[in-house]
Amino acid sequence: MSLAQKARYNFMKDLGAPALLWLQEAQRKKRSRKPNPYLGPPLKCAGRLREIMTRHYYLSRFTKGAKPVAWVTSGAPVELLRVFDFYTIYPENHGALCGAQKKGPEICSEAEKKGYHPDLCSYARIDLGHAFSGKTPAGRLPRPDLLFCANNICQTVLYWYKELSYYWDIPLIIFDTPYNFQDIRKKDIEYMVRQFEEMIPELERISGRKYSHDRFRKIISIARESASTWGRVLATMKHRPAPMSIFDAFVHLAPIVSLRGLPVALDYYRILLDELEERIAKGIGAVTNERKRLMWDNIAVWFNLRDWSSLFAERGFNFVAATYTNAWAETIHYLDERFPFESMARAYSLVILNNNLSNRLKLMEQMIRDYEIDGLVILSLRSCKPYSVGQYDIRRLLGDRLGIRSVVIESDMTDFRTYSEEQTRTRLEAFFEALEV
């Protein structure tokens, strides 16, 4: 790491990034939209969130020589990397960003040109497409020094990260999490802890920094606090009217996914929580006239967030719970600085996608009760097989047990070539009609 590069990074951090943010905000103010009468006032925190995320992507361009860079999967135990001061980029979060900017098909097709199949997860196609073409709405992403992948979310990430490792000839560390068929077993925990032990010398070598147990424990505790605060943020939606909606939560999820373990994420969720509590005290809802409360199953459809939030809000329907946003509150609070490795193994191997379907069913039943849900919208994603498989059974069982109404819609989270606006609208409207009276 050179001194000059470090100085450049620090300069950008202290002066370059704030200047850019100031410019962006000024532009935003110029083209501000008409308020939507069906939606409550926007969250004040949103500006701070934009600032954090823009800064994160912007600064990543100046990391070369200043900080080691890792590309990380959304379910990977990033806390360990933080000890070595890795600057982390989340391709899945970047995929969501591309999706929200409606760049999915364009970047996906860069991967398809090289022979990757359109049925491959669109996050993988966007990431590979970006790797081949450099296309990204984020300006530029830094080449990683390390790829860090956990297969607790799917097997796709394994092959996808192997491809990157092959093309760029950079090291890949895989964290293998045994699938949880019933209850987590002692020998599974041992197996995972041993992997962490093996990773440490590798991480020291790649980053050129020494492992510190104290630092690790501190990071673990920050990560746990952030996840519990995120959990409390989500729990505010138990109130009627809910002070935020799941469409907000999809956006405000970014720090817990990609800045987990850093103080900035924790600070942010504390501010957000304060704001939400204030809204509850004042009776401000995310939807002006909240009549029915819905739950969402699966990843967000990033290219459609705005349209859908008004489509639902117009009818007084608000999404107040989602298995997806809940995933970062569900198990990460198991982290415990007294047993950092064991607790980390537990927290990461029990995530929803690495856990059996009866667990998912139980979780959803609980959420439907706690959040007083009137209807369930199930998104079937061709991209994400582990999330989408079993949804029809879950739907049937929830219907039988709780009498809950539900609808299945089909889309992709970023690649809107597989999305049919008209058909989806008809399904949703028929669902609304069935929920009325």
Binding site: S420, A430, E433
Partner: protein
């Protein structure tokens, strides 16, 4: 006397039903939707009105349904075809519990309660497999009309399985079978089987509850109906004009909403 109208604007055809206050259907009309929904609606509505011998101003409430419902400006309310087919099927066959509606570009299976209200439904995805469009393209490959196409399927003695449900792949499969001089009716029966298998998997998602009623243009296809009845192991209710069930449901809902 009060009158109500239901208009169903589908991808292929537009149907209008006019109803009297006592729920009696006074007239109906069907027209091709073509490229201009509004024109098709004007045509069909004009025809239905003249058949009923009434003027437009005598209509107290109009409900539009079908994929084109969004583009029609003058109606009083827009309701999805899923709710309308449920209500229409229930009206015609009060013991209906499951409704299979196969139209030009959509196929749906709807579960309704004893009042005709939708309890659950499923629809085909973006792809044309299992819809009227699939059959239309295949009939085209044989240069047959849809009716002849369906009827011919009943004549088969030795069905040839078609492995693809994708419209594009199935068509090339069919062309190669024709080139091999396989009997037309055997290939056609295989094609009907492919469609019915696809529909049947949707039926299983929703389940068979009470009597099964079939609506939409494909209900006129004898080949599809025969194979579906074979799967079901029983009879399916079909109205003599299955296409108008959606418009009928819309007209019935118009009356309810007016009162």
């Amino acid at each position: 006397m009060t009158y109500f109208a239901g208009i169903d604007i589908g991808s292929l055809t537009t149907e209008v039903v006019i109803l009297k206050g006592n729920d009696r259907m006074v007239s109906s009309a069907i027209d091709l939707t073509g490229t201009d929904c509004n024109e098709a609606v004007e045509q069909a509505l004009g025809q239905a009105l003249s058949r009923a011998g009434i003027s437009r101003s005598q209509l107290s409430f109009i409900v539009a349904t079908g994929y084109g419902r969004i583009t029609i400006p003058f109606v009083d309310k827009k309701i999805t075809e899923i709710s309308c087919h449920g209500v229409g099927a229930h009206h015609l066959f009060p013991d209906s519990g499951t409704v299979i509606d196969i139209g030009g570009q959509d196929s749906k299976v709807i579960r309704i309660d004893k009042q005709g209200k939708v309890l659950d439904f499923t629809m085909n995805d973006k792809c044309a497999a299992g819809t009227g469009r699939f059959l239309e393209v295949m009939a085209g490959a044989f240069r047959l009309s849809l009716e002849d196409f369906g009827a011919l399927s009943l004549k088969s003695k030795r069905e040839i399985p078609i492995s693809s449900v994708c419209t594009v792949f199935a068509e090339s499969e069919v062309i190669s079978l024709i080139a091999q001089n396989q009997a037309k009716e055997d290939i056609i029966r295989g094609l009907h089987r492919a469609v019915v298998n696809r529909i049947w998997s949707m039926v299983q998602i929703v389940g068979v509850h009470g009597a099964v009623t079939m609506t939409g243009g494909v209900a006129k296809n004898l080949g599809v109906v025969a194979l579906l009845e074979e799967k079901l192991g029983g009879k399916i209710h079909i109205h003599s004009e299955p296409q108008i069930v959606g418009a009928l449901g819309a007209a019935l809902l118009a009356k309810r909403l007016f009162i």
